[in-house]
Amino acid sequence: MTELNKDIQALREKKAVVEMGGGEAAIEKQAAMGKLTARERILSLVDANSFHEYDMFVKHDGRDFGMDKKDFPGDGVVTGTGAIFGAPVCIYAQDFTVAGGSLGLQHARKITKIMDHALKMKCPIIGINDSGGARIQEGVQALAGYGEIFYRNTIASGVVPQISLILGPCAGGAVYSPALTDFVFVVENISKMFITGPNVIKTVLGEDISMEDLGGARVHAEVTGNAHFWARSEQECFEQIKRLVSFIPWNNAERARSIAPAEPLAGLNIETIVPADPRQPYDVRDVIRATVDSSDFLEVHELWAANIVTGFGRMHGETVGFVANQPMVLAGVLDCDSSDKAARFIRFCDSFNIPIITLEDMPGYLPGVDQEHAGVIRHGAKVLYAYSEATVPKITVILRKAYGGGYIAMNSRHLGADFMFAWPGAEIAVMGPEGAAGIIFRKEIMEAADPDAMRQEKVKEYIEKFANPFVAASKGFIDSVIEPRETRSMLLHALRLSAGKEEFRPAKKHGLPPF
């Protein structure tokens, strides 16, 4: 055997040791929890033969509590580059089989190095979280590591898309990296995310709660909104991520890649989806599916704040973002959660050059002490801010109701919409006819011999006068009143026309959205 061959042999052996992570027993334990290993996860996510691992031989620098005698292969995190559908990505995966995936300074430095790389090369960052938390033996060094990651999450925000997977525990300070990223994915029975765990809660409060009920996948997908996508298995989660990556650009200087244009599926008739009676529910996602290429719609935050729908579709092969009121959930009202959800999605689209189509059918804001005290004013203001701030093409179609503050908030002409369309049955008014007539004709109704009959007559009068799109159209607030079946062609026309849209804002360090 020549010298060279010996070196190669030694390298292969060294790599094999690192690739075994925490060793067979730990890998078996990981599998018993229904979890893949860090490397298996990366390889399931990226294109075949595209992954290149970095920093395999990084050693931790813990010196205290006997740590100097311990060796952690790869220091508990796998980092590298790969491709998804040919799109370059930087990726890291914490390895729970190595010291519980705990984060020390070198572990963190591997992550920040690949993040810096992503920011320089302008490609998305995908982080797979599966860690017991800070490596306590390293003390403040571990905290420094988290801080350096959060800083880069913030600097990269709006420059490259950032995607987080929660595939194991992610607790304490560690949760703030995913929280700063654009899309968080969770998997049933595997994801656990919280600031303080059940043990502390039990000690301090005496409240008995399981990890799953406190911060399991469904909780974050349905209640907190911390997770944007929920899956039943890791494999389903990886498929969701690949689909998302296909819809978004590599960075904020690019457009999302276009694919071959296609018509919506024939089975959906846009003319029969929306009931004429504005009080009757329907699924607004059917209107989106009847509008987009191949009826292919990727919903973001599907389970949280379902009274508004956000997600991606394609029009003539190009990605667009949809924001739509959902009349079948809470009548499609705006409230604290749906405002946060919409505002965040709008800002993602604006950051990454994705035109926004708004489908409006909403009765107003959700009434209630809980809403007022939870700050529906400042949360609701985020929607106004996000739409007004956005300079990507902004198109609105009023399907049915557009009342009051909600009419203004849902990308109205007044907030800078480029195109305003309304269906002929649209009701654009300060409030619903019953409420409005009750106020305007209060005296007539009170003094009438038959107040109920008078009320009904006045409601009818109000509907005829105001509950239509023509008052708004007469002021130029609506550009065109269109038939439902013209919706797709009008949207395609508007998108074609706004392909070269440029709109500028005054120079400033940054705006002050009502966080």
Partner: protein, 108 residues
């Protein structure tokens, strides 16, 4: 989806009734009630270390009512108004949650 097996119900927004589904989060929202006058409640979850007043005692605003150990601090809970201690709702050693009633002061 959380609402998929929910039936459509009537939901009133400014007089008009809409047929729609309610979310679990909406159904479980806390209902607001006006806190009883003079009631002092805990701002933090914690453990009652010591109680410095007794029922029926006349106190001035700013007087120490009790000490609550919470978030690794001994928090001094002071009387927000002058009056008579009407009731003390906790005892030493109690572990309590946030917004738990501590004492009621009858103003005057």
């Amino acid at each position: 989806m959380e609402t998929s097996d929910n039936p459509y119900v009537d939901f009133v927004i400014t007089v008009r009734k809409y047929k729609t589904r309610l979310t679990a989060k909406y159904l479980h929202r806390p209902l607001w009630t006006k806190p009883p006058e003079g009631q002092v409640s805990s701002a933090l979850p914690g453990t009652v270390l010591s109680i410095a007043v007794s029922e029926g005692q006349r106190i001035e605003e700013g007087r120490l009512l009790l000490t609550l150990e919470a978030m690794k601090m001994e928090n001094r809970i002071l009387a927000p108004l002058s009056g008579t201690v009407g009731a003390i709702h906790v005892k030493e050693g109690d572990t309590i949650g946030r917004n738990h009633p501590l004492a009621t002061i009858i103003p005057g």
